[in-house]
Symmetry: C3
Subunit: 136 residues, 3 copies
């Protein structure tokens, strides 16, 4: 049971974060529920709803493209805990690695993250994500 759950979450995270890295903004936003909440420890207010999350990542993708960076998200040390309704609470570490064109890879930061994932016909959706950046 844990094996299936952990594998499905690991696979989901790989696919989800590649969508944003590949600039697929709409497809990335579609991995959140319509009513999803995204908390970021460097922002005063959470993003509320898929539309707000989509517009935020759209700006992020545009900034990264303008800076001509490769921006990679590593999620690891994933812990899964089923909820009572077929969903799962996860905790994981996230590492951001950026490389400028012709330059050297650098750590941008590490974060301690909590998700609440819920099932859908197309796979997991994020209902709640809380990202606490280290050092904040």
């Amino acid at each position: 049971m844990t094996a299936d759950l952990l594998a499905s979450v690991q696979q989901f995270y790989g696919r989800q974060m590649r969508l944003s890295e590949d600039g697929a903004v709409d497809e990335w936003a579609a991995t959140f529920t319509e009513d999803a909440v995204f908390e970021d420890s460097t922002e005063p207010e959470p993003l509320r709803g898929r539309d707000a999350i989509r517009e935020s990542v759209r700006r992020g993708v545009a900034r990264i493209a303008a800076a001509d960076l490769d921006f990679r998200h590593w999620f690891g040390m994933v812990d899964v805990e089923p909820d009572a309704d077929g969903g799962v609470f996860t905790r994981y570490a996230a590492l951001a690695v950026v490389t400028p064109r012709g330059g050297t890879a650098a750590l941008l930061g590490n974060a301690d993250c909590h998700d609440h994932l819920v099932p859908s016909p197309g796979g997991w959706l994020v209902r709640h994500r809380a990202v606490r950046f280290d050092g904040t």
Copy 2:
């Protein structure tokens, strides 16, 4: 079989290392057997027994708190090999990432690690851990 074993070890490592990161010294020590041995390539002698391991991590947690750092352990590239008694030999890479308050994340070091894990009613326990830091 490998899937269940690998998932249970990955999940254990995530939970175990978060205990030390969260400062839960007693709970972290409880993930080792009473007679556990902890070898560290930067120390002249191994730690012998759960009590010695607990006191060592207690000092580590206090140093990290005094330095006001977020200290993260990434375990990855996990390889599992069952022993003959329901336990498992593992080999994995460990990366330490530290971030000072208000500062930038940095790699502290990478290590090549070997564990012997044994089953208990509450899950895996570490009977032997050998951490060889790169560059030593």
Copy 3:
């Protein structure tokens, strides 16, 4: 199904890359098919065939030994997609971490990688690997 496949690929990657890190050049080359192709975004031409791949890694291992470095490969964010013949297409992130003797760990680079793995009696073999280094 995904759990078994993902676990077997994760376990394969851990074992495969440790072979090159341990300098086991012939054993590493044996994880590729005889007709394997290895594409590297920093090289003008792909390596074609196990022999060419073996000689390339032999030179790499010798350079790393001469520089007295610990060189570690982290593969993560692994995504698996079965092909129609018992093989699997994978996409993953690869991070290279190097540590000089007595020195500090550093990121050498991050890469976005695609493999085509095929089954063999001894486990997975790489038929095709494409490594696109970030920043190139």
